[in-house]
Symmetry: C2
């Protein structure tokens, strides 16, 4: 997977998940340093609706498997403490 492509793709995610992957909003999860495989699983679940979430569904809908792999690689590579 391509972390840089993931970073480019993450522009829409920053608003809720933070520019460093640490969310500024308590309801929204931190993504920095999260497990790569888990991030991909979660994004696919939002895309195919096994996770019902009105905010994440439209975010995930347009993503290809490759976009998802790149986003997962990018966010899992970030420092979990946000530095």
């Amino acid at each position: 997977a391509d972390k840089d492509a993931g970073k480019a793709k993450s522009a829409t995610c920053v608003a809720c998940h933070g520019s460093n992957g640490i969310s500024a909003i308590p309801m929204y999860p931190n993504l920095a340093g999260q497990k790569e495989a888990y991030l991909a699983i979660a994004l696919k679940a939002y895309r195919d609706g096994t996770r019902k979430n009105m905010v994440m569904a439209p975010m995930a809908k347009p993503l290809s498997d490759e976009d998802i792999a790149n986003l997962a690689a990018y966010y899992s590579s970030l420092d979990p403490s946000g530095k």
Copy 2:
């Protein structure tokens, strides 16, 4: 919420999510330092089925709102880098 009660309740979670909240299994998320409100939202989603997950459903089913609040307080208090 009561972190210590959360820690006591977390005995069944350790197998997948690690004794320090950092999962040893790539498919399962790290919980350490995650947002407290998000953890409660996720646990309730597993409990009431808005998130379909065969592993987490039976884990979440028996939890009361208080258990969930305590678990969320406990895991969010852990160091995100697992130290």
